[in-house]
């Protein structure tokens, strides 16, 4: 379905053009295409198939009528740092050398987009087609900075990298962080991407990451989103996996007024694996929307998805998981599961598996379940002297464990577990 046109996109372009840095690492041709796409297609509303339950045009009209771009500088992020990780800090889309740790890890190379050579610049936008989605187009047109993180061939990073994306403004703002993460042949890395929103103004963060997992490389990725009531975000991950490569991502969303995740993974060669796990909790009027795509292009690949949601008050959760098995992708194993608990009568979950299979020798399955808290179990706990609130906490904790246990960085796991328990 074609989205009905609205002038939101034009308004955004007018508001942010003057303050946006010039994009000097993308061909002018691509930049014009991005702008044209944005002007023609507009910001998606609920008439757009992929944004049916996530009317972002409506959110812009309601929450971002007056984008002023009064961005804050940030001087202290110590409280967010993990002890046993190398921290890189990005403030409102710009890499901050002063807040970041020294790049002492062997095999790790970080380069600002503008300092890449001509050949390397070609990677930018390689996986993110400006004519596929309005937010890719918006990011491409206005992300004036960004960095390329490369893990060299055969290098195994000795420590996780913790990229902290801080959005902060004192009035309504829109920021467009962007990166390219590239793992060379046989490389291994653990990358934690954490998104927070501090400051007094509402910030719309339109994040875009392109991730290349090289041959026999292994990228263990964590996305931790805790943006609070002022944080609105669309987060696009475009991932491609080369043969024998492995990509694991666990996304935990604890807060944010709007969080839309587009996680698109291309299993582009034989014998690669991808695992996506998600846990989200929503309350008040929050909206968390996880859209995933597993694009199986070649034979003998495996993918697995597990998303769990706990939805309270008048909030809404969405899971839309598309599995695409192309004609050549024989012997594909692809599984998907979405489980949700609704804690109030006004809470909503929309869950939709979409399987498109064009190969004949594949194993694919999907399952979804939505329920309330198990009252039989609550009574059992009550009968042992455990009060209703603690019983609920124990049960929700148990529900979330399956996802939280996928986190292999102990410090991160503990941090998330503590914050999760506070959210309940």
């Amino acid at each position: 379905m074609i989205a009905e046109k609205s002038n939101t996109a034009q308004l955004i372009i007018d508001k942010i053009s003057s303050s946006a840095e010039k994009v000097n690492f993308i061909d002018n041709d691509q930049l014009s295409k991005a702008l044209l796409y944005l002007e023609n297609k507009g910001i998606p509303n609920n008439k757009h198939e992929d944004y049916k339950y996530c009317n972002i045009d409506g959110i812009f009209k309601k929450e971002f009528r007056n984008i002023e771009q009064k961005l804050n500088s940030v001087t202290d992020v110590a409280q967010y740092k993990l002890k046993d990780a190398l921290t890189l800090v990005v403030v409102n889309g710009n890499y901050s050398e002063s807040l970041s740790d020294k790049l002492i890890l062997k095999g790790l190379h970080l380069t600002a987009f503008s300092n890449l050579d001509k050949e390397e610049k070609k990677l930018i936008g390689c996986l993110a087609n400006v004519e596929s989605d309005a937010f890719i187009a918006l990011n491409t047109a206005f992300s004036g900075a960004g960095f390329h993180l490369k893990i060299a061939d055969n290098e195994q990073l000795q420590m996780p990298i913790h990229i902290l994306y801080v959005s902060s403004a004192n009035s309504e703002a829109l920021v467009n962080p962007r990166n390219v993460i590239e793992l060379g042949k046989n490389a291994e890395a653990t990358i934690i991407e954490e998104q927070i929103c501090i400051g007094t103004g509402k910030v719309f963060t339109n994040f875009l990451s392109e991730k290349f997992v090289g041959e026999n490389a292994k990228l263990t990725s964590y996305t931790f989103q805790n943006e609070g009531a002022n944080g609105f975000s669309v987060n696009t991950n475009q991932v491609t996996i080369n043969r024998y490569g492995k990509y694991d991502n666990t996304t935990v969303t604890l807060s944010g007024a709007l969080v839309r995740n587009n996680h698109n993974v291309v299993l582009a060669a034989q014998n690669c694996q991808a695992h996506l796990n998600g846990l989200f909790t929503t309350r008040n009027n929050q909206l968390v929307d996880n859209h995933t795509l597993m694009d199986h292009q070649m034979p003998n690949c495996e993918s697995n998805e597990l998303y769990k949601g706990i939805i309270t008050d008048k909030s809404t959760g969405v899971f839309n998981g598309k599995i695409y098995v192309r004609k050549d992708a024989q012997k594909t194993n692809a599984y998907q599961s979405s489980k949700n608990i609704l804690l109030s009568d006004d809470a909503t979950i929309n869950t939709k598996p979409q399987l498109e299979i064009y190969a004949d020798d594949v194993k694919c399955s999907h399952g979804t379940s939505t329920g309330k808290i198990d009252e039989v179990a609550v009574f059992y706990l009550n009968a042992r002297g455990i009060g209703r609130e603690s019983a609920k906490k124990l049960l929700l904790n148990a529900f979330a464990q399956e996802v939280i246990n996928k986190i292999e960085v102990d410090e991160l796991k503990e941090k998330i577990l503590n914050l999760f328990e506070n959210e309940l």
Partner: protein, 253 residues
């Protein structure tokens, strides 16, 4: 310990308990027997505070408090324990964490501090020996993947940990082999004291060979129709419930 007066309870439109009267004193063991559908498990559930049942008449005084006014968790905190006929599996909640939470919430209710971790673990060790429960099971999720016998032993283990004043054992013997039955009974007998009391709900005399009751009550059609000493159970075992059913049916006519 507990006084039940003219207790009536319904589920939906159906009245199941039709005027139960029962007095239990500290140090006593009472057995409640009766055919299927007589209301035995309903009585246990109503006492424990299951909300599916509506109490329409009567009162229950437990250690001077009106039990029916209390929420299920407060009944447990006051010292009432129900060993479930069908213990519930709770995936993801470890037995240990479950018991620690329960014990500490009960302590908090009585204004006591949390039990130190060391003491708690020592208590776990002691009590799991009592019911011969494999240490591995205490670290697993509550009842998840336990055999029928393990689930029942876990109920007795929880009872031993929480040390209630009044324990209601709802058909704890059902589905148990003779060894498990002996273990469960040994556990109950070890916990028995002058300060606490037990209600043993059962279909069969068998369990009562191991847990010797002071009183036996026959529940039929929502009422206690006969009470006696432990010999009543033997009589029932020999004659079955037919005589009682006949008596009752002739009364109804």
């Amino acid at each position: 310990m507990i006084t039940i007066k003219n207790l009536h309870a319904s589920i939906g439109d159906k009245e199941i308990l039709k005027g139960i009267n029962l007095e239990i004193k500290a140090g006593e063991i009472h057995a409640i027997m009766g055919p299927n559908g007589s209301g035995k498990s309903t009585l246990a559930s109503v006492l424990a505070g299951r909300e599916d049942y509506e109490v329409t008449q009567g009162e229950v005084i437990f250690n001077g408090k009106n039990l029916l006014d209390l929420a299920a968790e407060d009944r447990a905190r006051e010292g009432l324990f129900l060993a479930f006929q069908y213990p519930v599996e709770i995936p993801g909640v470890s037995n240990i964490n479950f018991l620690k939470t329960a014990l500490n919430e009960i302590r908090a209710y009585h204004g006591q501090e949390e039990m130190p971790a060391k003491d708690f673990l020592a208590l776990v060790k002691e009590k799991q020996k009592l019911v011969e429960l494999d240490g591995k099971l205490t670290n697993r999720s509550v009842n998840e993947g336990f055999s029928g016998g393990e689930k029942k032993r876990n109920e007795i283990f929880q009872m031993a940990m929480l040390n209630p004043k009044l324990a209601v054992l709802d058909e704890t013997d059902s589905g148990l082999d003779i060894d498990a039955l002996r273990i469960v009974a040994t556990g109950v007998n070890a916990l028995k004291s002058k300060e606490n009391a037990f209600v043993v709900i059962t279909h069969y005399q068998r369990l009562l060979d191991y847990i010797v009751p002071d009183f036996v009550h026959i529940l039929y059609n929502g009422q206690i129709v006969r009470s006696g000493g432990k010999e009543l159970a033997l009589e029932l075992e020999a004659k079955g419930y037919d005589e009682i059913k006949k008596q009752f049916e002739s009364l109804e006519k």
